[in-house]
Symmetry: C2
Subunit: 241 residues, 2 copies
Amino acid sequence: MEPRRIEEACLACADRCCCKCFSDGEISIFDSLSKEELDLLVKEKRHVHFKAGETIIKQNTSASHVVCIKRGLTKIIAEGEGEKKLILRLAATHSILTGGGIFMGEVRHFTAQAVTEVDCCFIDSEEIYELVSKNNRFAFELLKLNNQQNVQMLNNLVGITQKYMPGRVADLLLYLKNEIFLCNPFNTRLSRQELADMTGMTMESLIRILKEFKSSEIITVDGSNIHILDEEALMLISKKG
Amino acid sequence: MEPRRIEEACLACADRCCCKCFSDGEISIFDSLSKEELDLLVKEKRHVHFKAGETIIKQNTSASHVVCIKRGLTKIIAEGEGEKKLILRLAATHSILTGGGIFMGEVRHFTAQAVTEVDCCFIDSEEIYELVSKNNRFAFELLKLNNQQNVQMLNNLVGITQKYMPGRVADLLLYLKNEIFLCNPFNTRLSRQELADMTGMTMESLIRILKEFKSSEIITVDGSNIHILDEEALMLISKKG
DNA sequence: TCTATAAATTGATATTTGTCAATATATCGC
DNA sequence: GCGATATATTGACAAATATCAATTTATAGA
């Protein structure tokens, strides 16, 4: 019952070739590339390994590369004034970090940090630019990806703005189960502080809501293992705000 | 000292041709189009006029068109559960409403509503799709536009999540002056409720913060006319959160 | 101009959420 | 296994924000 995306996937990529990762069954924006284009990408990319906690890309540095997460869990953080941070989303295996300004020396608008060990590829954004110019289907897929992320963030924004804490925590738990770990007793690998940073509340408040959910028998919690017992209830709490 | 973008611009477009609007000095994603492509767009587009208060596009309806705002002020709203709404941004003259799912029958993720009288063009998204396929520079510009909106929303999200009310109202006022009306005593045309909906707070709270700013002599307020007297102070309040 | 209606403002109060400090629990290196 | 350190939990309290009701002000129509 371990998380599928993180544990199983992409074992073939433990070595330095992530060619497979670009087209091994999951839908990917790279599906739109021809063999030649893909080969070019594979040849030029750089493979990098990160230990848990390391910073993969840093907000406000220049955005010269697109990063593909081949294996592992990454948190995407918006850093605010003075230590404040908001975790925008998690990127699991096969996610692509583009966003911010991948084009033309623009600046990153978020930080990405490894939660577990992470294997990823750095692709020079010049090459992405090339591909956008040459391959319209690729441009189209990139637009779609961008839109998806936009919409996810919008929903997040609306939730955080309009819901009380229980609703936000319910959303968080549903997100973790259904969009990141894809299995039910799941191990978040995230600290309470990190969970709190995903909901825009304090750690203490998050812990209290989790406790409420426990005593209502909606979830069980053992360290960073969370088991959702009553998803219906969570959806209701999410809906009611 | 009236708002430039809204009052002056695009008078030539009062008739049904918004060809000019696509390339009359302001930077536009349509600059990347050839004469032929632009002509096609102009020929196929539909011009529509909206009275203040009318809904231009509605959340959850299918996203079959891209809308160009030729003249007027539009509010972009994310509708939440039960009457709750969040105004994501304002779209002034020459804004383009794409976002959400312009591609392939996807669904809109926001509502757009006219604040003043609004003249706009509806362009079938099939045509945009065509252009993306044919013209790589256009695809590139669209990606950039998408990114910009993404970043703006991200900053908004971080602000609303991490700042106290005075910081958020300061951000709102700076946004209105510097990004929408582009002049100093400006007339918001927005009700107090709408201003509140832009900051994710209640109308009463917004009014109280405005009152504080007035008594600190940072602004003067007369109805929906707002004059920023001390922009430095606002920036400081924004920064401190 | 006057009236009816909506919008804005204010005050009192309740609720939500955050802060701070104390304690408990887990984790890591040895 | 043991101590040192980080992380998690709890409680008491303070601060921020929302809610509700009352009042004032603006606005549109007759």
